[in-house]
């Protein structure tokens, strides 16, 4: 399956591995890129030295295109923005804000900028600023989420911009891939499914929890803070929700309570104090495979779905 996204980025399959803070490092990103998708290193809240090392390690393992995901709320955002331009990484994806003020420098460095957009307004704005494509990510996803869901968001973003649209949120198998293309997307981004990839270096406990999770295993916290997060239900999310409901807890205290929880889950597998961010599709993610096996299976399934569906049309 080949779409305009493949030609635009020089990749074999129109699929991105979503940037996951503390999780998608060079090991996973290079494996996905080698397998023909676009692997993405997450900069998260990490300092520039860490990100530079990840870029170099990725380049040592693959000659194929890869991306860096920049979290715009990171305390190091200015330095990371300068770093990716200096390193001339092939693709930059962004999340948690408006990337427009950095885009000129990135475009001058020859970087393809592909922001995650939560609304048609933001999609139009980044189109004007020179984005190569946009990622329309629905609230089914894990981690920080927007208000709209994939089914509603993707077609509206497709109508709003002339750019290639990558659908994200709620996709974990070939059915989801096929559905995303039917909504008008020409590519997909998956996080949770790649989190359990053999090449992903996240803590084993994190993988086990996702493999065991069912349909109702995730929940959203942090609405009071204005940036909701989807994660697996756990002692941490339970306590967070309690704190959130407690009106005497200030926003600062609440932020402090959540701080470091993803790292504790991803690096230490801390089942008590960790926040295991994951998408609603966790219930569909049942086996650990290599990135190559995942990608090939997804597109074989999607192609079969398209052929089946064609039989419905006279």
């Amino acid at each position: 399956m080949k779409t305009i996204l493949c030609d635009l980025l020089g990749i074999q399959y129109p699929i991105f591995q979503g940037g996951m803070a503390w999780i998608s490092d060079y090991s996973l990103a290079s494996a996905v890129s080698e397998a023909g998708g676009l692997g993405i290193i997450s900069a998260g809240n990490a300092p520039p030295d860490y990100v530079r090392e990840q870029i170099r390690q990725t380049r040592a393992r693959t000659n194929k295109p890869f991306g860096v995901n920049i979290m715009l709320m990171s305390p190091f955002v200015e330095d990371i923005a300068a770093l990716v331009a200096e390193e001339k990484v092939p693709v930059v994806t962004t999340g948690a804000g408006l990337p427009t003020k950095y885009m000129k420098a990135w475009l001058e460095a020859g970087i393809k900028v592909i922001p995650v957009v939560p609304s048609t307004g933001v999609a139009k704005l980044v189109q004007r600023a020179g984005a190569a494509a946009v990622i329309a990510e629905g609230g089914e996803s894990g981690g920080h989420i927007g208000e709209l869901n994939t089914m509603a968001l993707v077609p509206q973003v497709c109508d709003a911009v002339k750019l290639p649209v990558i659908a994200a949120g709620g996709i974990a198998d070939g059915r989801g891939v096929a559905a995303a293309f039917m909504l008008g997307a020409c590519g997909v981004q998956l996080g949770t499914r790649f989190l359990v990839a053999k090449e992903c270096t996240v803590h084993e406990t994190y993988k086990k929890k996702i493999l065991a999770a069912g349909d109702i295993a995730t929940m959203t916290t942090g609405r009071r803070l204005g940036h909701p997060v989807r994660a697996l239900k756990s002692p941490f999310t339970h306590q967070f929700l309690k704190n959130e409901m407690q009106s005497d807890m200030s926003l600062e205290e609440l932020e402090a309570f959540g701080s470091g929880a993803l790292r504790r889950a991803a690096k230490e597998g801390d089942e008590k104090n960790g926040c295991f961010m994951a998408g609603q599709v966790s219930g569909l993610v049942n086996k650990e495979q290599t990135a190559k096996e995942i990608i090939e299976e997804l597109f074989a399934e999607a192609a079969a779905k398209f052929k089946e569906a064609a039989a419905w049309v006279k």
Binding site: T100, S119, G121, L125
Partner: protein
């Protein structure tokens, strides 16, 4: 002049009484979250034929008016 236009557009978007909006009103207090603000700014760009670089310093209606004035001057 600009204040009136800006106030009317905001009032229209959020179905508010224009008289209740002053230069000191913050966009947040008028019910605009970050995504609403992006939409609003794009509406002003169309109305005034300008390009606005949205950033965190835009807090009040007055901020918007002076920015628009500086861009249309």
């Amino acid at each position: 002049m600009t204040l009136e236009k800006v106030t009317n557009l905001i009032a229209e978007k959020k179905e508010l009484d224009p008289a209740a909006i002053t230069a000191e009103s913050t966009l947040e207090s008028l019910g605009f979250d970050s995504l609403d603000t992006v939409e609003l700014i794009m509406a002003f760009e169309e109305e005034f034929g300008i390009t606005i670089e949205a950033d965190e310093t835009l807090q009040t209606v007055g901020d918007l008016v002076s920015l628009i004035n500086s861009l249309t001057a």
